[in-house]
Amino acid sequence: MASVPFEYGLAVAGILFILGLAGVLVRRNLLFILLCVEIMLNAAGLAFIVAGARWGQADGQVMFIFLLSMAAAEVAVGLALILLLYSRRKDLDSDALGGSGRS
């Protein structure tokens, strides 16, 4: 295998994370917010892999697997909630659903 500068890997993971964070802050639709959270989770996982490869151990990949399962469970429940919310409120705008939009 060729040699890869690991710092750049971390940088990539960081940039992806920041992009996901920006997305969470900007988008209003709950579905998009969840999507951007997934981006952030993925970026964190990439960081783990990079770290694990740096030290040449399997721990990074193990962490990634855990993270993956957690993301799956979270997405399942989150999407169920989103469906429930939509069926009740007919609207997925987080601002409207939040504090000022109480019905």
Binding site: I15, I18, V26, L35, A53, Q61, A73, S87
Partner: protein, 164 residues
Amino acid sequence: MNLVYAASACVAIAATVMVITRRNAVHALLYLVVSLLAVAVIMLLLGAAFVAALEVIIYAGAIMVLFVFVIMLIGPSNDTVNPRSWIGPAILALILLVELVYVVASGSAAPLAVKEITPRQVGMALLGPYLIGVEVTAFLLLAGLVGAFHLGRRLAVTLGRKGD
């Protein structure tokens, strides 16, 4: 620098930027899938073939498909984002980016050799030192399952009432 590495990094970043700026949910999803695939390539280059495969199968394959199903159920949703609301998050992101670059750049940029880590090693680690984590993850998945099922049942009642 490894060319493939650089290329997939750019693809990942570009695709993510597209994800967060699209209006149409399905478009955003598809771009996300692209991003995930690029990330999988990066992982492969780092010697983690197992998780690269897992990334594609589970993340891009299962989780994104779930999103697609939900979008189907909900119908087209238009999330209008006016450009002005980008200012705050952009500044914040920029600050964080600067900090990140600073932290990363303070380390050494010397490339090291990449060692291939086999699935076997991962499995040994999982069922060895990380056994408890596996059990806990099982709990988590069970909880997610039960929760989704319960919520889904109420949903079925609600949807059923509407006479779908």
